[in-house]
Amino acid sequence: MTTEVATTRTITYRQALNETLRAELERDEKVFLIGEEIGVFEGSYKITAGLLEDFGPERVLDAPIAEEGFVGAALGAAMLGMRPVVEIMTINFSLIAIDQIVNHAAKMRSMFAGQVSIPLVIRMPGGGGQQLAATHSQNLEVWYAHIPGLKVVAPSTPADAKALLTAAIRDDDPVIFLENLSLYSAKGEVPDGEQVAEIGKAAVVKTGTDLTIVSYSRGTTTALEVAHQLEAEGLSIEVVDLRSLRPLDRDTICASVKKTGHAVVFEDDWLSYGIGAEISATIGEGVFDFLDAPVRRVAAAEVPLPYAKALEKAALPNAADLAKVVREVLNISTTANDK
């Protein structure tokens, strides 16, 4: 990170995104925004509020409901050196554009032997818990994290939202920038001035010695909450915030687990073939000899998410589920290997 930190302000994740888009639009005239309802309507979640007014309709382009069309159009503009930042209203709708993202944006640089690069950013929120029912509540990060040629970031704080979005816009490759519905109003300290994160790096956001929780995006917030709660019970929990899902910072994960000997992954996606599966395999390959207990995953129940509040709550992983599993992992180890 390059820093010229003098002051910080406490702002929301939403505001951090808005300010960063504004700063990048000001800095580089090749940057422009495309998305549904981002101009006149100011964005479904108001991330682009005020930008149409200040930058005009050529820099803030309202698109019809045509995800495949406008994502592909952004890709084409990127091929000619523009730096489009696309907003897809939610990650669920990105499935309509997935051909342009996976078959085209992710492939071009390699397939055309480096003759073209794709400085494209696709921003979109995922997340359940708002009673939006099965088609509007998905966490499809692993769909993109699986694809070589894409970079996938998932900031959990307003500060990271700023630094990672800045990095994503200045990056010469397609970056999938994952936001989360439940983080938009979250507040945090954000350093003023230019902040550019290094994509591909995780962060230890809380140190501890007994167990490592690995998470990302909204999950990191819950992980920290649980870690602090268990601290009061005398447990020392380390929290690793992935920040980047592709590439994955395996060293940071393994270094932490090597120290603590225990790991739990907290993820919002479905369990089978999810982010946690990749983390667990990494820990198994990297630091198996240092593990005192099996790695456990806390993930969503594998159902299309129901609308009814009670069912939705039952299906989504929460702080209580995480705390329970952390205790189970630590108990297992203390009874199994009498240290």
């Binding site: 549904e36 009673q131 029912a133 369990l271 806390v298 992983p317």
Partner: protein, 358 residues
């Protein structure tokens, strides 16, 4: 096929002449029910009885009544997410529709779908789709199945597929209409053109804003009708359905109406100018149809008031039912994932171990 100018406020039926008084009264009862239901939905949302996204048919009642009056019991209906009125007038009880909004097990989709996902296989309402354009390919496929299952004729079934003006810009719309045109499918695509996507106008979103003209690309008749005129909507839809069932000729019908409020209950619609809001209010089909029926002597003021009162009572009963209904049981979380039971189907709740030690 006269275009209805958006700038010209005009509401009410062209003429009620020749229509039996019973029918007109019935249509007003239906419009009044949808109006009362939607106003109450909005209120229940504000009281947090309803969650998620909630899109209302306010201002579109004449369209809802006209279209559902045209469709026969044997026909199939697919809609987008602005679906409460269609569910009600397809014959689903207000109790079951309100219970769905409340997320109760007695709801039309067992509380699992919510506002955007009304479904009733018996009533041949095959959804309720939250993804823009999601309903168009399956509706087209339903018409393909009908073509295989039945011979064309006045007694054949057809499919009616509803979609918004904004939805005509998604690829699935164009792919599906091409299939229907090519394969001669018994389907009527109805564009409910309320002038807006969320805040984006038709003119901002569609290179050809006369949306019915898009039919030409698929050699399909394209028809535009005034959506505030319940009889005109019904007659245009009947005629389109007749072509679909008897001649396997798909039709694109564009119904011009206004959305009275925001895109969903949480949208204050600040992007709308006061003039636009005034036009939408002046075109409100419910009071104008009411006034029309009183003026032509079909209803007295007292009759109309009694109908409105009855609609309100009906909706109150639905709210009580929804309120008192149980929530779906947690044990049933995985109940409907697969039709054919399968070995090793996941059934772990968050935090449960993925397997027992072998």
């Amino acid at each position: 096929m006269a275009a209805k100018a958006r700038t010209r406020p005009k509401a009410g039926v062209e003429s009620t002449g020749g229509e039996p008084a019973e029918t007109l009264r019935d249509y007003y009862e239906r419009m009044s029910l949808v109006r009362a239901f939607e106003l109450r939905s909005s209120e229940m949302y504000a009281r947090a009885k309803i969650g998620g996204y909630c899109h209302l048919n306010l201002g579109e009642e004449a369209t809802v009544v006209g279209l559902t009056a045209a469709i026969e019991t044997r026909d199939y209906l697919f809609t987008g997410y602005r679906d409460h009125g269609y569910a009600l007038l397809r014959g689903l009880s207000p109790e079951r529709v309100m219970a769905e909004l409340f997320g109760k097990v007695t709801g039309v989709s067992g509380g699992r779908g919510g506002s955007m996902h009304m479904f009733d296989s018996e009533a041949r309402l095959l959804g309720g789709y939250g993804i823009v354009g999601g309903q168009i390919p399956p509706a087209t496929g339903a018409a393909l199945a009908l073509k295989n299952q039945e011979t064309a004729g006045p007694d054949a079934a057809a499919v009616m597929c509803l979609l918004g003006d904004g939805t005509t810009n998604i690829g699935a719309f164009h792919e599906s209409l091409n299939l229907a045109g090519l394969w001669k499918l018994p389907i009527v695509y109805v564009i409910v053109n309320n002038g807006l996507g969320m805040g984006t106008t038709v003119e901002m979103a569609s290179a050809e804003p006369d949306l019915y003209k898009r039919a030409a690309s698929y050699r399909m008749p394209g028809v535009r009708v005034d959506g505030d005129d319940v009889l005109a909507v019904r007659d245009a839809a009947r005629d389109a359905l007749k072509q679909a069932r008897e001649s396997r000729q798909p039709v694109l019908l564009e119904v011009m109406c206004y959305r009275l409020r925001g895109h969903s209950v949480v949208d204050p619609a600040r992007y709308r100018s006061p003039e636009e809001t005034t036009i939408a209010q002046q075109s409100d089909p419910v009071p104008s149809f009411r006034a029309e029926l009183i003026a032509s002597g079909v209803l007295s003021e007292a009759d109309a008031a009694a109908i409105d009162e009855a609609a309100d009572v009906r909706v109150s009963e639905a709210v009580v039912f929804a309120e008192e209904s149980p929530e779906p049981a947690r044990e049933d979380l995985f109940k409907y994932v697969y039709a054919t039971p399968v070995a090793n189907a996941p059934s772990a709740l968050p935090g449960e171990p993925v397997m027992d030690a072998l």
